[in-house]
Subunit: 190 residues, 2 copies
Amino acid sequence: MSTSGTESGTRSRTRRAILAAAAATLARDRKATLADIAEAAQVGRSTLHRYFADRNELMAAAIVDSFGAVEDSVRAAAIDQGPALEAMRRLIAAMVESGDRLAFLFGDPHVLEEFTDRFEPDMSVPTTLDLIKRGQEEGVFDPAASPEWIQRVIWALTYTGWEAAEKGELPRHGITATVIRTFESGVVVT
Amino acid sequence: MSTSGTESGTRSRTRRAILAAAAATLARDRKATLADIAEAAQVGRSTLHRYFADRNELMAAAIVDSFGAVEDSVRAAAIDQGPALEAMRRLIAAMVESGDRLAFLFGDPHVLEEFTDRFEPDMSVPTTLDLIKRGQEEGVFDPAASPEWIQRVIWALTYTGWEAAEKGELPRHGITATVIRTFESGVVVT
DNA sequence: TTAGAGTGAGACGTCAATGTCCCAAAGTCA
DNA sequence: TGACTTTGGGACATTGACGTCTCACTCTAA
């Protein structure tokens, strides 16, 4: 069960299917049972327990996994390069792409809080704040808003876009543009 | 137990304490047990059951109650009067004031969905969507954004403001101004 | 083909939350 | 004060989710 050891292809695939199903299922229903998750992963409940002894272990692993997925996506956006405004657009696009994972991680405020000690200080969140601060220094982001507030707004709008698409109110391909537009200019015509 | 009958002052007070505690507690922890809610209401668990037979009944009553509280608050904002922009500012202020109740109602998407059939919206209260459409006709709200999207943005920002204050990142008295500013102008300096 | 890896189904036992009931104590009002 | 209302706390049974375990079956790689 050590993460360091090499896993057979089959086991590795099953493990990932469970983790992905956990994130996707819990993002849509926070009260989902382990049976629900196992079903979503097309796996028996006993198999799920074979990989993750208890709910906490699964949660911790799913958080680390989802966080890693989001990190990869954000890393690919290279948000420390180029003008802050353009970097922010790439960041938002990357976050929207990780919709499921983000909704799982941030949909329930308690999810992350209870597991903050399970993983090491990450790269993506601090760099988001870095990007915001850089943007403020460049004079493109509202200096009256705290970086923390702006970060919350990004999460909130991204989640809202994901949720709207989830309910069919917004086409998937339109999420990014809509979120970026609202994030940048708000809703009032000037 | 009929809602139509007159209730003694004591019972009425107890009932309201339970409903308010339910909304406040569930807004902060969606997994709160009935024992948690009873404790928050400073009431015995058996007393809670005396007023609400089961969890569903309590949920339904709490939703109706919270919805009514928000409706009252919104009605006082008279959002069908005056310029749409100013009406929107009053609406947002009213929503921020109802922070707890809104966080309870909209914090978990499933809460409302499961109980939509339990209550009818008060038709005498002008809806948020009406105000948004009016604003678009007046040319003050982005015509490229759907009214539903704008409504979601209002909810999301209000909730974010409430949450930020809840975690001490934002002073209570600053929520409204911050939410309005972000809602109207976004985050990018033009 | 064959041994071993991996799996599904399901039987248990456990546990926390729930819902019901009762009764003594405290509160309320005439 | 005395009748009536309301409450708190505890005993109890029920339920659904969990976690553990076994066994027969399927798949995979040599």
